[in-house]
Subunit: 553 residues, 2 copies
Amino acid sequence: MQLTETHRPTLDRALEAIRTRAYWSPHPEHPKAYGETGAADGLAAYQALLGSRFELDQPGTDGWTGGEVSPYGPELGIEYPHPDLDVLLPAMRAGMAAWRDAGPETRALVCLEVLSRISARTHEFAHAVMHTSGQAFMMALQAGGPHAQDRGLEAVAYAYEEQTRTPQTADWSKPQGKRDPLELRKAFTAAPRGIALLIGCNTFPTWNGYPGLFASLATGNPVLVKPHPRAVLPLAMTVRIAREVLGEAGFDPNLVALAAERPGEGIAKTLALRPEIKIIDYTGSTEFGDWLEENARQAQVYTEKAGVNTVVIDSTDDYKGMLSNLAFSLSLYSGQMCTTPQNLLIPRDGITTDAGPKSYDEVVADIAASVSGLLGDDGRANALLGALVNPDVKARLEAAAGLGEVALPSREVANPEFPDAVVRTPVIVKLDGAKPDDEASFMSECFGPVSFAVAVDSTSDALELLRRTVRDKGAMTVGAYTTSAETERAVEEVCLEESAQLSLNLTGGVYVNQTAAFSDFHGSGGNPAANAALCDGAFVSNRFRVVEIRRQA
Amino acid sequence: MQLTETHRPTLDRALEAIRTRAYWSPHPEHPKAYGETGAADGLAAYQALLGSRFELDQPGTDGWTGGEVSPYGPELGIEYPHPDLDVLLPAMRAGMAAWRDAGPETRALVCLEVLSRISARTHEFAHAVMHTSGQAFMMALQAGGPHAQDRGLEAVAYAYEEQTRTPQTADWSKPQGKRDPLELRKAFTAAPRGIALLIGCNTFPTWNGYPGLFASLATGNPVLVKPHPRAVLPLAMTVRIAREVLGEAGFDPNLVALAAERPGEGIAKTLALRPEIKIIDYTGSTEFGDWLEENARQAQVYTEKAGVNTVVIDSTDDYKGMLSNLAFSLSLYSGQMCTTPQNLLIPRDGITTDAGPKSYDEVVADIAASVSGLLGDDGRANALLGALVNPDVKARLEAAAGLGEVALPSREVANPEFPDAVVRTPVIVKLDGAKPDDEASFMSECFGPVSFAVAVDSTSDALELLRRTVRDKGAMTVGAYTTSAETERAVEEVCLEESAQLSLNLTGGVYVNQTAAFSDFHGSGGNPAANAALCDGAFVSNRFRVVEIRRQA
């Protein structure tokens, strides 16, 4: 493999991007960028996987397991190897020394080859992500394809930079006055921690999985991938490609392996406490994330859990832009993003806008109308909403209507291509920030297409509620609309003090729930929603240790 | 203050040093480098502190406490403010926003001014360190002065570099084909975690304290300094200087404060669980370090605990050099360094040397003779050994003689200047690596002037024991002597796999227990002896979070 010629320029460009944080991506978003037959080939490749065994040729397989059912209806019918951990884990360690000795650059370039082969199969991945997460096809292609690949590459760049901050060797000469200097030759090696465990999630198997996977692999650790049982395929495909590339590059393919679980097995808990597991990356519920942080003490644990995302609505000079921006944010993937706003804080006396003063009721009605307008056409609604990922989301959506006055009822949308898909528009419920019962509702995460229009006494009341929400419940995102420099400064101060990522006055084609790799941080790692950010130095710097060997010169 | 002109060149030089890891220090080691009257002035300044109240003018003082007694005999008679935490902690947070808004460069330069004022008073600090740690004067001056200042400066450099990896602002423009690009203006701020707690140690109050203190302060956090009750003075002086500099530079002096404790109060436990405390740096026992890691879940916890340091003796081409190097390592500061070798693993069939083959008994006898020779003169012995830091060390030393055959008995050394000082030469005890009772002795840390000459079946047996020791007990240092390339490679592999810092074939004036800032890592952070290394990216990168504020351009 001509790894250096092929990938070093991309690595250098990625290193530059994380320093400047200007826009950059080597992975095309447009479906037509993948060749004339790309779409058809991808679909065919995906279909060829259905109803068969997904062979991985990894050691320690003690049976086969599967059972994925697309949120769009069809059963995938794919079976994956179930691991005998006492065979698989030792086998994964066998290639560690050679992978470590290869050094940071080779590891980075091998990771880039993995990503580039994944990129070439973006259409195939799009179908796999769509039929495990319930994302609409275009979103599955973009978020599950190029955007996920970007986040993986970003992690590789951070890992490379972190490992190369210390030189491989140094000559140290300390003057001793008239005597000879003291002289030492020192060698520094980035040494891996041990086996890394990636615990994947249902909604974004690749986007949330790739940062941890590639950060651990690029820092020398074998990676065991434990997908969510409803979203195995995209990560199984990833594992297969990684194993192929590792083998072709002369490394042990067992440096990356899959751990699919039997129904109800709860293998993540078992794995998380194995002494061989030294790093864990997890995206999912607060409950299990907290359990991992409390119990997997032998490992470095990186968690993205749940939060309660807030938008403060104080005033705007582009009322129409604000409404359409918010409507899109609430609708995208049926609000099933960890970054989707949940609580819209609106002063009960109303707000000022370029379209005149608007009362609380008017603002809520206008947001509701904007969502209705956006999703009025079933074709467009299907393309934006995707499908509900599991029955729990549907149950929460249905229960939400009982929490307060419904400003916008949820609507069932028919999907002509997949009649079994459960497609619903978002519900908006009015709540009162001053009522304890209402607070109990809006202060807990209600994952799915549910948002609360919370009436507050004033903007400063909103900021205090925002602060309390971020501090106690965490937040992946905060949004705010204001024309007041003073309010802007105040909301910034809350976010700086409580460590939340803030989007101000978004009225165009960028949404609070979207972040771009190489430029935006996803989460802050400083509030209860997540203990790490994607991606920064802290995300990679403890995945390896620098071992120094010094000798007299 | 002309901070930039005075200190920016030093910061740049430190940044270069941590990248090249060549020798560098701006802090002179020679006692005469501090001016003609430096020594006398330092002594006088130290003496002026004795028998008085150490005023700090910090808020929330509810009484005075003290009671330090020099390991050399004299009572210090100094009283320090005892904190009312409910007053002091909120006061420490008051200046946080301004300190955050000052940015990484200003914070670094203020820290450098603090360090430079400490440096100017190195002789005064030397006496304070000597009479709290029991270090001999010259060691107290060097390790407690310039070497500690180096470690503080190194932490500042890492903190600065880490915070400036992300630019303060970025313009992001994403092409949209024929439509206008999406454009955002982004601002990135290094935001502090909260109050940092430094829990100081008895033996190296400044050397082990400065990295955490300056890393936290330079990343924007207030720092509460909780010294070891036997070693308050050096850190109290540090706090006073930091408060002076902060005030003069226009910041709140309460960003740094002292928490001296009443006898038996155990204030560290109380502080460690306070919700305001978000970062903890600790050097000390494994027991309390583990407690902190388990219980202070609201904080980032950095610990340096205990380990069992090993030297593998396989063969040498400089037998005399090896003996004298080891003798010095075992003797320096009466073996009261966390880096002092404890277990010397020697094949029971002996080793090959440039002076012919040497049996196990001969090697042990020759090491013993070398220590005896080094410490034969009482003046030199006092200058190397210092005093035992506390009665526990003396008790362990006395008990050690009962653990096996004594190859070198400990000798009492009189100190004519300080007749009450407890000065003892090291004991060397022969143990058998194959005997479980002996293993129980050498596999636990015996802090103080005690080392075990452990007979092993072979060098490969030694390496297996080394691996087990590092994995189970941790190690701050590993040493090895060998002329075999194969053995060298094998011991390197153990250290790479178990994450231990290795010194090979030291026979001259560098010792396994010494590390130099900017070049050597102190600990690895990858074995049970410590969860962090001094100093690397991981030591600083999670002391702050990057908060992003983005708005439409």
